[in-house]
């Protein structure tokens, strides 16, 4: 089984991941968690107890918005979509992350005394 990333790394990137999974279309909470798990080949997993506060926080900040959707024959569920501000933030955050990862990679490729 693939090794899990440590908690701190996961925590530092969670909001970025959530925003990126909402970029294409609205999703409900459990679905976002499952997508992250699947796409990361189970190396990043979020339990409901961890993911829900992140959604809650992003919504409070206005980066995503949630709304209850009722479909015939189904219980009502809360779907989240990314706001325009969320998109701007996601774009900036993505760039910053890439720069960070590249810097870290550069550092890690150097042998230090």
């Amino acid at each position: 089984m693939a090794a899990m990333f440590n908690r701190e790394l996961k925590k530092g990137s969670a909001e970025l991941l959530v925003l990126s999974f909402l970029e294409v279309r609205p999703r409900h909470g459990y679905e976002i968690g499952k997508l992250i798990e699947t796409h990361s080949k189970k190396r990043i997993q979020f339990r409901i107890g961890s993911l829900y506060p992140i959604l809650f926080r992003l919504e409070q900040k206005g980066l995503i918005s949630g709304r209850w959707v009722e479909k015939p024959g189904e219980r009502r569920r809360r779907y989240y979509r990314i706001t325009s501000e969320g998109r701007r933030v996601l774009s900036r955050q993505r760039t910053a992350w890439e720069e960070f990862v590249s810097t870290i990679n550069q550092l890690l490729s150097t042998k230090h005394a």
């Binding site: 107890g49 900040k61 992350w97 720069e99 960070f100 042998k111």
Partner: protein, 925 residues
């Protein structure tokens, strides 16, 4: 199917959330749990297992509630800029292991500010604990080093606090003063009743002046006869020092006269100890007549259990006085001897300076009363009672306090070095954190929190070490400290320890914190490894220099104190204490004394027996008076004083003093023959420097009419003996005059028994012989004379043992410090060493390089230490005996010790450097 709504409601407590919002949260969580449950069922789990698997999605409901609360379900929504505002600046918003979003408070919201600070502090504390737990060896080393440093300070501060800071346990203690007189060459003399009467009459600055004189008295009774300390006091003495008696009353002015008129029975007030020991704490003791001090007396009061007398050591007023009676203040006899030790209570609003001014004026008036009386050089001195009580021990305590401060500074230097070395190792981590958005302020706070935690743990451990050290020191404390009652860790000591822990943690935490302030982020990110490896820092050298300098000063102080103590151990006191036993009795008559001397002399193994009024180095109330030689002009009389001692024949051989010229006393040296005296060589040299003293006439004080009925008398010098140290082993206070007991009887005498080797059961033999002569005679102070000498060495032993201990700790810490710095330096320079060796440097050259690098700051430290030591030596002068503080030998010895220790500390790292494999080292580079 599980009822997830109910499940969530049962587990999640959001009492402070608006109900509508809470309902939404509960519903959404229930929905997600249902999803999880359904998925588990799809994977083939049983109902029960699927329920459990879904439930595991939220393991900590309280944390979830807290996370939601912090995410702000109570606050209005904020704009997106608030959240990712860091992205608008230059710093990215990611964080690893440090609080990325330090909680910020809205302006004007004090509660939120406090909460923000508390949250940051909690986070920093948590992180610091984790860091310490990751490297327990480092933490333990730092905490232990600090605990030793702070603990030593706590222990010595406990004494400083109890002795110097805590007020004396008397009412209005800050207004109490001791009043001493200066007469002739004596500057701390007691006063006569005539002088007390006049001072009382004329003072406006004191509202009370009282006097005490302590002597011995026999306490016959049902059990063993006992000799106790009797305080002869003025009637206003006890109310000055004690709020109220435990039982009965204090003396009144009319009691003073009643004591003398012969019609009334003497009234006495007894100590709590005597009341319990001799009278079984009888509540009906008041008004009871008891046999005491050669007569009977009525007990009118019992003192409280915590009452004790605290007088300067040289006042001959011990703390354990067992009963008090009063004397009238006689205004009529200006020639009366000075024997009263005075204390006074300043009027409210007055002060010591005004009281001294007034005392000078009173002394001038007394001097002008009569040119013939013994007031020619009369002076009066007023000191604060507390300040005078502690004047002997103050220097010792403050110097020790300085010593422990040095130890603490060395400990701080070591911990600072540990932290700096670690901070350098953590440069990469710190740089990345800064890059991830941690502000420098937050990083500094984090580092200071780490050092604060170390200081706090060190402080807690220091309290334990301090407590143990206080117990140990109490066991060895000298008499000058013994009067001050309990020494313990009180609130002030706790506050002191905490303050020291906080201050020191800031002190040693400052260096790593400053290094963070100087962090170059851009260069740090690009070039982390080189920053660690190549940059040379000056702080290790500085710390080593500081440690060596402090250790130098401490070692010099210790060396001087140790040599003083050795000199004191070998000091010739003028007598030989070995094989001598002593005891004290109250003397009913000369015949009893003679009979006892005869009987004890007959005991097998006893070589010689005699008696003296004042044993050398003992605490019996001193007897000293003026002397002058025949032919001295009027202005030469009443100017210089000598200690007077009453003796039986044979005293000098029994005590082991050396008779230099002439003879000892004999049986015919009594009042009916020519009065004779024996003087010491100091007095003989002073009065007759170029001629023999034998046969010369000397005006002395004696009392042929009975004890304390002093008169001036001419005596012929029949012998000269070597000076005997009477007051301390080191200071020669006054010369000595010995007079035969028959012309100067004293109420109590100390027997001196010199035996050939030890006599088993000597105590029992002495008691039996004394009882045979007079069964009411109490035997006290039965002990070897060597015990008296050991007591006299106590203060010097105390100072030198403690100083040695401190120096040992300091030396060890400095050694560890130098070792640490050099080890670090070798580790840092491994690559460089490899390069040097690769291009041809030999191992000896590498070792030389490391030693030169390591020992250069030691040399700087030695130079600085030498300078500091000159000052320390100057401070120590008062405590030294037979040692020249500027003796180059001391400095040379310490230089050698410190260089050897430094080389020892440098040896292991140098050896490690020698073993560096060039290939490995180059690979590292």
């Amino acid at each position: 199917m599980p009822d997830w709504l109910r499940y969530v409601r049962d587990h999640l407590s959001l009492s402070d959330c608006p109900p509508a919002r809470e309902a939404e949260i509960v519903e959404e969580l229930a929905d997600q749990l249902e999803d999880a449950y359904q998925e588990a069922l799809r994977l083939g789990l049983s109902d029960e297992d699927a329920f459990r698997a879904a439930g595991q999605h939220v393991s900590d409901w309280a944390k979830l509630a807290d996370d939601l609360r912090r995410a702000g379900f109570l606050r209005p929504q904020r704009g997106p800029e608030d959240h990712f505002s860091v992205l608008n600046g230059k710093q990215p918003a990611f964080s690893v292991g440090i609080n990325r979003h330090p909680v910020r408070a809205d302006k004007g919201n004090i509660g939120a500010t406090a909460s923000a600070i508390a949250s940051n502090a909690r986070h920093d504390m948590h992180y610091a604990l984790r860091i310490l737990a990751k490297n327990p060896g480092f933490g333990l080393m730092a905490v232990l080093t600090l605990a030793i440093g702070i603990g030593a300070n706590t222990a010595i501060f406990s004494f400083v606090n109890s002795v110097l800071f805590r007020p004396l346990p008397y009412p209005n203690a800050d207004r109490l003063a001791i009043i001493l007189s200066g007469q002739g060459n004596a500057n701390r003399a007691p006063v006569s009743t005539f002088e007390l009467f006049n001072i009382r009459e004329q003072t406006r600055e004191f509202d009370q002046i009282a006097g005490i004189w302590v002597t011995d008295a026999a306490l016959p009774g049902e059990g063993d006869a006992e000799q106790v300390k009797r305080g002869v006091i003025t009637s206003n003495f006890l109310p000055l020092l004690c709020a109220k008696p435990e039982l009965g009353r204090f003396f009144r002015a009319e009691d003073e006269d009643r004591q003398q008129d012969g019609k009334h029975t003497r009234a006495i007030i007894i100590s709590h100890g005597l009341w319990g020991r001799r009278f079984g704490s009888d509540p009906g003791i008041i008004g009871r007549s008891v046999r005491i001090g050669g007569g009977s007396a009525v007990v009118i009061g019992v003192l409280p259990a915590n009452f004790r007398l605290i007088f300067p050591n040289d006042a001959s007023v011990p703390s354990n006085v067992e009963y008090f009676d009063t004397i009238p203040i006689d205004a009529s006899e200006p020639r009366g001897p000075g024997f009263l030790h005075l204390i006074g209570r300043l009027r409210r609003g007055s002060n010591l300076a005004r009281a001294q001014e007034e005392a000078n004026a009173i002394a001038t008036r007394l001097r002008s009363l009569d040119s013939e009386i013994a007031l020619a050089n009369f002076r009066i001195y007023v000191f604060s009672l507390h300040a005078d009580d502690v004047r002997e021990i103050r220097t010792t305590l403050l110097l020790l306090f300085g010593g422990v401060a040095f130890v603490l500074l060395i400990a701080c230097a070591n911990v600072a070095h540990l932290l700096m070395a670690r901070a350098m190792r953590r440069v990469r981590e710190t740089t990345i954190r800064a890059a991830l958005g941690a502000s420098r302020g937050r990083l500094v706070c984090q580092l200071l929190t780490e050092s604060f935690l170390l200081g706090l743990f060190g402080g807690v451990m220091a309290l334990g070490i301090g407590w143990a050290a206080v117990r140990a020191i109490l066991a060895a404390r000298p008499p000058s400290l013994a009067n001050f009652g309990d020494v313990h860790l009180d609130v002030r000591v706790f506050a002191f320890t905490f303050a020291v822990a906080v201050c020191t943690s800031l002190l040693f935490g400052l260096a790593p914190a400053i290094s963070v302030r100087r962090l170059n982020l851009t260069r740090g990110l690009k070039d982390v490894s080189r920053q660690v490896g190549s940059r040379r820092y000056h702080w290790p050298s500085f710390l080593v220099s500081a440690e060596v300098a402090l250790a130098f000063a401490l070692l010099l102080g210790t060396g001087l104190l140790m040599r003083t103590f050795i000199n004191i151990l070998h000091a010739d006191p003028g007598f030989r204490a070995d094989d001598v036993s002593t005891f004290r009795i109250t003397v009913p008559s000369y015949q009893t004394l003679k009979q006892l001397q005869k009987n004890l002399s007959a005991v097998p193994g006893v070589k010689s027996v005699s008696a003296v009024s004042h044993l050398p180095l003992d605490d019996t109330g001193n007897w000293y008076d003026y002397y002058w030689k025949e032919g001295a002009s009027a202005d030469q009389q009443n100017t210089v004083m000598a200690d007077h001692r009453s003796t039986l024949p044979g005293y000098f051989s029994a005590v082991g003093a050396t008779v230099l010229k002439g003879r000892d006393f004999n049986e015919s040296d009594d009042a009916s023959h020519q009065h004779v005296a024996i003087v010491d060589d100091v007095l003989a040299r002073e009065l007759w420097p170029d001629e023999t003293a034998i046969g010369r006439k000397l005006n002395i004080s004696d009392s042929p009419a009975g004890a304390y009925q002093f008169q001036r008398d001419w005596a012929v010098v029949v012998g000269v003996v070597r000076h005997v140290q009477c007051h301390s082993l080191t200071a020669s206070v006054r010369p000595q005059i010995y007079v035969p007991y028959q012309i100067a009887p004293r109420p109590s005498m100390s027997f001196v028994i010199r035996a050939i080797g030890g006599i088993p059961e000597l105590g029992a033999i002495v008691r039996r012989q004394v009882a045979l002569v007079n069964k009411d005679l109490a035997v006290t102070h039965l002990e070897p004379l060597s015990a008296v000498v050991v007591r006299a060495q106590a203060e010097s032993r105390f100072a030198s043992v403690l100083a040695t201990l401190l120096s040992a700790i300091a030396l060890l810490l400095a050694c560890v410090g130098i070792y640490g710095v050099l080890s670090y330096s070798v580790a840092q320079r491994t690559g460089e060493i490899g390069v040097r060796m690769a291009i041809g440097a030999g191992r000896p050259q590498v070792v030389k390089m490391i030693l030169t690098d390591g020992l250069s700051p030691v040399l700087v430290g030695l130079t600085a230490g030498f300078t500091v030591s000159l000052f320390v030596a100057h401070l120590l002068t008062r405590l030294l005996f037979g040692v020249n503080p500027g003796d180059p030998a001391n400095y040379a010895l310490i230089l050698v010790i410190l260089i050897l220790v430094s080389m020892l500390a440098a040896f292991l790292p140098a050896r490690r450097a020698m073993k560096v494999d060039p290939l490995t080292a180059l690979r590292c580079e």
